[in-house]
């Protein structure tokens, strides 16, 4: 990949959490000259090292990272409503605790089969922590733990969204640079053609 030099200055961050920033190109001509890439030769577009295809490799890499981040975002977005549901249940149990009456609930035993459960007044709930581990907690501790999980998940989601935005910006910058390099080359060919036409 072309090394950043005075012609390709990137303002702001140079990378974010492992995602390299796309260098913004001030002037196409100096950028090409300094990276030593020869766009003039007609084969340049096909060569690995030519400007547009090396930029498109960069674009593909960005796309890969974007897929990964989008998958993570989907997972988090699914996890948050689950945690909220758990909080709901614990809150309901806590509310019932005061009244002294049992909570009757219908729950799913298997798909399409439901059974009735009578939940007595209780002080503790069991929380599934994952990895085949379930722990007993008092209602207050359970609420606190679930609340903390919810906050962590929401915070991670925010960071992820910011990462995705940064990534999309870099993709846009790279696409614009590819277009500009291409246009510059077209422009060069045209000026050379008109110059050749004038000479002949």
């Amino acid at each position: 990949m072309a090394s950043s030099s005075s012609a390709a200055s990137s303002f702001g961050v140079t990378e974010r959490r492992g995602i390299p920033a796309a260098a913004f190109v001030e002037d196409v001509e100096t950028y090409l000259a300094q990276s030593g890439l020869d766009v003039n030769s007609s084969l340049a577009f096909l060569q690995e090292r030519s400007a547009p295809s090396s930029l498109s490799i960069q674009l593909q890499q960005y796309k890969l990272v974007e897929m990964k981040l989008l998958a993570q975002q989907r997972d988090l977005r699914a996890k948050i409503p689950d945690i909220e549901k758990c909080l709901d249940v614990v809150a309901t149990l806590q509310a019932k605790k005061g009244t002294g009456e049992a909570l009757i609930a219908d729950f799913e035993v298997s798909e399409g089969i439901y059974s009735r459960a009578c939940i007595e007044d209780t002080d503790s709930v069991c929380l599934w922590l994952g990895a085949n581990v379930m722990l007993d907690y008092s209602c207050e501790e359970a609420t606190a733990l679930l609340q903390k999980n919810l906050e962590n998940a929401t915070a991670s989601l925010e960071v992820l969204v910011a990462d995705l935005q940064f990534l999309r910006d870099q993709v846009t910058v790279t696409q614009v640079t590819i277009a500009r390099v291409y246009n510059w080359d077209v422009h060069q060919r045209r000026t050379r053609q008109t110059a050749a036409a004038k000479d002949s």
Binding site: E26, A105, W184, R190
Partner: protein
């Protein structure tokens, strides 16, 4: 005169930032449209639920809390549904507002970018 030749108009860092911002807003706009659709559906479901409630003559209604259906007296369910309806409609309002502000910002940016680049840039939906 060369047609649609972007190399005649130089792209400055400010232009790049505007383009980036437009891209971000566009993405957020699509996300918002999806979220608004879901919020509207939830609202409708709650409406249907409260209508059904009025029609039913059972005293105890099964209300879904988490993964289970708890037996709750009808009045509690009614007030709960009212609460949920309020939350969803406030959420919907907030989303609609955000959508409008994004549309306005995008129109502004379109004006600026088309002004500078004219034909060399395409900011329309495909």
């Amino acid at each position: 005169m060369q047609q649609g030749n972007a190399s005649d108009t130089e792209v400055t860092w400010e232009d790049q930032q505007n383009i980036n911002k437009f891209g971000r807003l566009n993405n957020r706009f699509h996300e918002l449209e999806d979220e608004i659709k879901i919020a509207k559906e939830t609202n409708e479901n709650l409406e249907d639920a409260s209508n059904e409630l009025i029609l039913t003559d059972e005293e105890v209604v099964r209300l879904q809390i988490g993964e289970v259906f708890a037996h709750v007296p009808k009045d509690d369910v009614e007030s709960r549904i009212e609460q949920m309806k309020e939350v969803t409609s406030k959420n919907l309002e907030k989303l609609e507002e955000e959508k409008e502000s994004i549309v306005a910002q995008m129109a502004e940016l379109k004006k600026i970018l088309y002004g500078k680049f004219k034909d060399s840039i395409n900011l329309e939906e495909d």
